[in-house]
């Protein structure tokens, strides 16, 4: 159950990245999982190859990836503003492919799999009779902290409010003096940083490899369950998916673990085409 919640937290964080970018720019970023992968690789380099401490490597990696996300928006996505949503999705798919290929070309990274040691590795916590690996607890704690920070950021800070405004009405926000383009770049940066944290938290329980970004595909059901536009929705969606997966692994025949999330997703979409927490949309004529 706790393991399911922990895996669910990772889905939640990736889904959170989707939602942040989607809310602001209506782009569904198919490269989100690959940002996670890149973050994990950079953390691996800093910790395992260069011997940095975990606590320093974590923020440094997040900053590097934030800069990367920012640059990605400046270099690529700013050019496609105003094009059909579908075209932009294709760009993110392309970027994801390039990142996967690019990472596997880096000499020290390649196509091998790696793991990193963290302060939580191989330790357990006991709650009465229940034994829980610290790695899983760290994921849950990390997610919780990140959610609170993001919540405060969007509710309290000027920048966060500007971002909300820009996402709700680009043109109006622009006229109100909000630098919409810069705001978008920042959201890409934040989203990339969130993905990185997810990647680093995931690293101890999973392996670091070029294809670990495919976890992004698992985060889709989470984001959709949550309605794709809602930050708490994404977190709840992620947790639901994670727990469903663990339960189906325990109680259902082999093979259901990998598809349970998608079966739930399809079922939900059939009943509520706009997701569990989504608002119904209708084109105005």
């Amino acid at each position: 159950m706790i393991n399911g919640a922990a895996v669910g937290c990772i889905y939640a964080l990736v889904a959170l990245g989707f939602v942040l970018i989607y809310k602001a720019t209506e782009v569904v970023n198919f490269a989100q999982g690959d940002l996670l992968m890149l973050g994990a690789f950079i953390a691996f380099t800093l910790i395992a190859l260069m011997g940095w401490s975990y606590w320093i490597a974590l923020p440094v990696t997040a900053v590097i990836l934030a800069a990367f996300g920012w640059g990605l928006d400046r270099a690529v996505f700013r050019r496609v503003i105003g094009q059909p949503q579908f075209a932009i999705i294709m760009v993110t798919i392309g970027i994801g492919i390039i990142m996967r290929a690019g990472v596997s070309m880096v000499p020290q990274w390649g196509t091998e799999t790696y793991s990193i040691d963290t302060p939580f590795s191989n330790k357990v916590v006991r709650f009465g009779d229940i034994v829980v690996a610290q790695e899983y607890l760290s994921i849950i704690a990390g997610t919780a902290i990140l959610c609170v920070v993001l919540y405060l950021f969007f509710r309290r800070s000027r920048l966060g409010i500007a971002m909300q405004a820009a996402s709700q009405n680009q043109l109006a926000a622009y006229y109100m003096g909000i630098p919409v383009k810069t705001v978008f770049s920042m959201i890409w940066g934040i989203s990339a940083a969130v993905a990185t944290v997810a990647g680093i938290l995931l690293a101890p329980v999973s392996l670091i490899e070029a294809n670990m970004g495919l976890i992004g595909l698992k985060a889709f059901p989470a984001a959709v369950l949550g309605g794709f536009g809602s930050i708490p929705g994404a977190v709840v969606g992620g947790l639901i998916i994670g727990i469903i997966e663990q339960l189906s692994a325990a109680y259902l025949p082999d093979g259901f673990k990998d598809v349970a999330a998608y079966i739930v997703l399809l079922a939900v979409l059939v009943v509520r085409p706009e997701g569990l927490f989504g608002e119904s949309m209708r084109k105005k004529v």
């Binding site: 690529v76 999705i89 009405n169 889709f220």
Partner: protein, 358 residues
């Protein structure tokens, strides 16, 4: 520059706009039929792949390019067609019957996905197709009595009119004929009311509806046709690969298929063909280019994927109409030479239009 003087309405209904086009297309088809006499076996095999991908392209184009419904799960339909073909042939049914049945089975799955998808829009639909494809791939892997699971499945040989088809050129002709039939059907459909209804749904559902287009019917139809055509391609694909394994129909493959139609050019059958050629030719071009690249880059196994992604990004950024769009521009450049001006195709700058409505 060619000016076409139209003297009767009949001219706008024709398959080809003018005599020149009839000539060139006939020549192309003749050349395709003559190809096995000239080219060696390797190239015939490659062209066969291109033909199969063309059929898939036509199928996906009907759904995504013409009806505007994005599918991230077309490899699933391809797989359904392929497994159905292998299974039915294994049961002793003749080739001429198994191919259409494989198409129908895939079409039935298309309907099964299309009906619940009616109420979904945009990204929700895309993700639903993705979920569908992942579930189908898992079923391929687990339904061992039919698909052989991870162990894979051998595809029986074809016997047609008492002749065993084992040579590449024989299979090439089969694929060529199926491609021509599919193309002919698609072209006909697109110049009929149904084709117009699909385009109408793509551009404005609400207007299509108020002009009398039954959205549910035509969207489902589009799914069925698209899945059916892809299923037929899957049947051919099964014979081409000879051995089926669940990994062949992964989500990554689905995305590749989508990339194929985007790079080829959405919204035209030409685009489907160009996309197929692109998918077929890219590995060849890269393997040739490898000889000229420094060893460190040339020997990277992921080089192909990287180039693939790069081309996709560059196309969407600079040529959203795909290879077909580029071709039209080059053609116009020569037709208007020296009067061509860049602004003819300049895109309007626009603010993001929200697809959300409150």
């Amino acid at each position: 520059m060619r000016f076409i003087f139209k003297t009767e309405y009949q001219q706008d209904v024709k398959l080809f706009p003018h005599g020149g086009a009839v000539f060139w297309y006939s020549l192309l088809i003749a050349a395709m039929f003559a190809a096995p006499l000239v080219l060696d076996e390797f190239y015939i095999g490659e062209i066969t792949y291109v033909l199969i991908f063309t059929i898939i392209g036509v199928g996906l184009m009907i759904l995504t390019g013409y009806t505007g419904l994005v599918s991230l799960g077309h490899a699933a339909f391809l797989g359904i067609g392929a497994y159905a073909e292998a299974y039915l042939l294994g049961q002793g049914l003749p080739f001429l019957i198994t191919v259409p049945i494989s198409g129908f089975i895939a079409a039935a799955f298309g309907v099964a996905l299309g009906v619940p998808a009616l109420r979904m829009t945009g990204i929700y639909l895309a993700i639903a197709t993705l979920a569908f494809a992942i579930i189908v791939a898992e079923v391929f892997a687990r339904w061992e009595s039919v698909t052989g699971g991870y162990g894979g499945m051998q595809v029986p040989d074809i016997t047609l009119f008492g002749i065993d088809i084992y040579e590449d050129w024989q299979f090439y002709y089969i694929c060529l004929i199926v491609t021509l039939i599919v193309m002919f059907g698609a072209l006909n459909l697109l110049r009929s009311p149904t084709g117009r209804a699909l385009v109408a749904i793509r551009d404005s559902e609400i207007a299509a509806q108020s002009m009398g287009v039954n959205l549910a019917k035509y969207k489902t139809l589009s799914f069925a046709l698209s899945a059916g055509i892809t299923g037929i391609a899957g049947a051919l694909f099964a014979h081409k690969t000879v051995f089926l394994s669940p990994d062949s129909f992964s989500i990554v493959f689905s995305i590749q298929l989508l990339v194929m139609v985007v790079v080829g050019g959405l919204g035209s059958l030409h685009g489907a063909v160009y996309g197929a050629i692109f998918i077929g030719a890219l590995p060849q071009i890269i393997s040739i280019a490898k000889d000229y690249l420094p060893h460190a880059i040339g020997e990277q196994p992921s080089l192909e994927a990287g180039v693939f992604g790069l081309i996709l990004v560059l196309f969407v950024l600079f040529e959203p109409l795909g290879i077909y769009g580029r071709w039209m521009k080059i053609k116009l450049f020569f037709q208007l030479f020296p009067l061509y001006k860049k602004a003819t195709f300049k895109r309007q700058k626009s603010y993001m239009k929200s697809e959300r409505v409150r």
